[in-house]
């Protein structure tokens, strides 16, 4: 159990650190985390399936602008680990893993808070012209601070294993229904956060377009993305043309004010 819990924590640590160091948060997506858990814990099939299922569930959960709706990475590392270690089905794991994601978000926020406290120390290194040390400290910070969520996950699985078994065995049925319902409604928060970032009153009709195509037609997301690409291209060229026309009219009318001979040209 010690080794398994350690490997689960390592999964989380590697995903988070990889994402921090490469600036690529896709390494924290469930599909990658689940598969990585599978590789480390020696059951790629289960890991990939749990990762795929959670990717579907968390498709709407994104962390743009530092606001997250839940910690999908923490939740997936936990879910994949208990599925592999205790032979749970992914549905069973989900009942615990969804709330665990919110615990993970809380732990992440503690980490970010500590990170904010370290800002003056980094500033001091710059002010003293210790640039190499600055870069080193800058890269070392996540490597140290990410031990916090990793330790939490390790303790959760190592100490909580027995507790977990009793909890899953004795869950009142309404709780798992409730968790399933919450899992279906909570992506709305991710959507709300996203919309808050990209919203434009005049373009809001496109949201309904995407919704309607997906709701009424049996097509893949890729098809809809290609449709979106066409629509965006059409709008962009039309917008540029209109801008160009406006500029021509603008400059022409400016000239008209200065020089009356141009008037004949405009009347053609």
């Amino acid at each position: 159990m010690f080794l398994n819990a350690f490997l689960a924590a390592l999964t989380l640590y590697l995903s988070e650190l990889g994402s921090s160091w490469t600036g690529n948060q896709m390494l924290k997506r469930p599909i990658v985390v689940g598969t990585l858990a599978g590789i480390l814990l020696g059951d790629i099939t289960t890991g990939a399936i749990v990762g795929g299922q959670l990717e579907l569930l968390y498709l709407g959960i994104v962390n743009v602008g530092g606001v997250e709706a839940t910690d999908a990475c923490f939740s997936t590392a936990f879910a994949a680990a208990i599925c592999i270690i205790f032979n749970y089905s992914w549905e069973q794991a989900l009942v615990i893993a969804v709330p665990i994601g919110y615990l993970g978000l809380f732990i992440s926020n503690v980490r970010l808070f500590i990170n904010s406290l370290l800002v003056p120390a980094l500033d001091k290194l710059i002010a003293k012209d210790k640039m190499k040390q600055f870069s080193f400290a800058y890269l070392a910070t996540p490597a140290i601070l990410l031990l916090i969520p990793a330790t939490a996950l390790f303790l959760g699985i190592y100490i909580g294993a027995d507790l977990l078994e009793t909890v899953i065995a004795n869950l009142p049925p309404f709780l798992s229904t409730g968790m399933a319902a919450a899992g279906k409604m909570l992506p709305a928060v991710g959507m709300g956060i996203l919309l808050n970032y990209i919203w434009d009153d005049k373009l809001s009709i496109y949201l309904l377009f995407g919704f309607a195509v997906s709701a009424f037609l049996d097509v893949t997301n890729i098809f809809i993305a290609i449709l979106a690409l066409f629509l965006a291209y059409l709008d962009m060229t039309r917008f540029m043309d209109r801008k160009k026309n406006d500029d021509i009219i603008q400059s022409a009318s400016n000239e008209t004010n200065n020089n009356h001979e141009v008037e004949g040209f405009l009347n053609d």
Binding site: W21, T22, G23, N24, Q25, M26, V32, G34, I39, T45, T46, A48, G52, E55, G60, V64, G65, A69, T70, P99, F113, S116, L118, V119, L122, I126, M131, F134, S135, Y138, F174, L175, M179, A182, K184, M185, L186, P187, V189, M191, G192, L194, I198, W199, L203, L207, G210, V213, A215, F216, N221, A225, A228, L229, A232, D235, M236, F239, M240, K243
Partner: protein, 276 residues
């Protein structure tokens, strides 16, 4: 490729490439105070040391590093759009004494919002959903290919954009932003990205958000499930209304975590009394 590096000296090309590689670290120390501020300084460190080498330039080097660590935030996948630009402006600070260094931070603040709007729509929403849609079926079959396809297809576009943007923004310099605003290119790209983003969010709402009421009531002899009435009109209508409601609340500065807690309580309470 020759066109991309045209007009730059060999040493300069090497330095700009260094910026590209170091930009991968931009998000390492994200925090709520400076966001990617120190990440930007770390990205440009080698470049600034190249501009101001040795003990005699110590003051200027520290000044430049402090200037670059103030505040920065951008979709990490296109962060070189900013860092390439800031590097070219740092060069201008060194070469042109009339150039006001404080312009750098005002440009920084002015591009952060629009650039992230474009980046989030294109990368977080559109590209990620496309890659996930291709990869998920492989993962659900238990194959390692799912994760590989997901990362591979995403990073192909990601690396390509990041590399090109480094050189494009470095060569274009600060005049580029002014020009892009003036000839309407930036607003047009923003519109296009917003449209793609909104279409994909609409599609994601339909496929991921649901309010699974299981309430049924008797109409004559038959039991009619409440949710099927809604679904007969427009499938997933409740999910759409919920998403728009949450969006309105976030817009009114309601803390998203509060909404999460509320939905959780609602789901559990609802399940306890049997409406789910």
């Amino acid at each position: 490729m020759t066109k991309l590096t045209e007009g730059l000296s060999k040493e300069e090309i090497k330095q700009v490439r260094t910026i590209f590689f170091r930009t991968f670290n931009v998000a390492a120390c994200y925090n709520h105070v400076r966001q990617f501020g120190h990440g930007c300084a770390h990205t440009l460190r080698k470049y600034i040391e190249w501009l101001y080498p040795g003990e005699e330039n110590k003051e200027k080097r520290i000044e430049a590093m402090q200037r670059e660590s103030v505040l920065y935030n951008i979709t990490p996948f296109i962060s070189t759009l900013g860092t390439g630009l800031f590097a070219s402006m740092e060069k201008e600070v060194k070469e042109n004494p009339d150039f006001d260094p404080s312009t750098i931070n005002s440009i920084k603040v002015s591009i952060m919002g629009p650039a992230s709007g474009i980046g989030d729509s294109l990368f977080w929403v559109t590209l990620r959903v496309m890659c996930a849609s291709i990869a998920i079926p492989f993962a659900l079959k238990g194959s390692i290919l799912g994760a590989i396809i997901f990362m591979g297809s995403f990073d192909l576009v990601h690396f390509f954009c990041k590399y090109y943007l480094t050189f494009i923004s470095y060569k274009a310099g600060s005049s580029f932003i002014a020009k892009a605003f003036k000839n309407g290119l930036l607003p047009a790209i923003t519109r296009a990205a917003t449209i793609m983003g909104l279409v994909m969010v609409g599609c994601m709402i339909s496929s991921t958000v649901d309010v699974p009421f299981s309430l049924a009531f008797s109409a004559g002899d038959t039991e009619v499930a409440l949710v099927s009435i809604f679904n007969d009109i427009i499938p997933g209508l409740l999910g759409l209304l919920l998403s728009l409601g949450v969006f309105k609340m976030i817009r009114k500065k309601v803390n998203p975590n509060l909404i999460i807690v509320f939905l959780f309580v609602f789901a559990l309470a609802g399940a306890a009394i049997g409406i789910f």
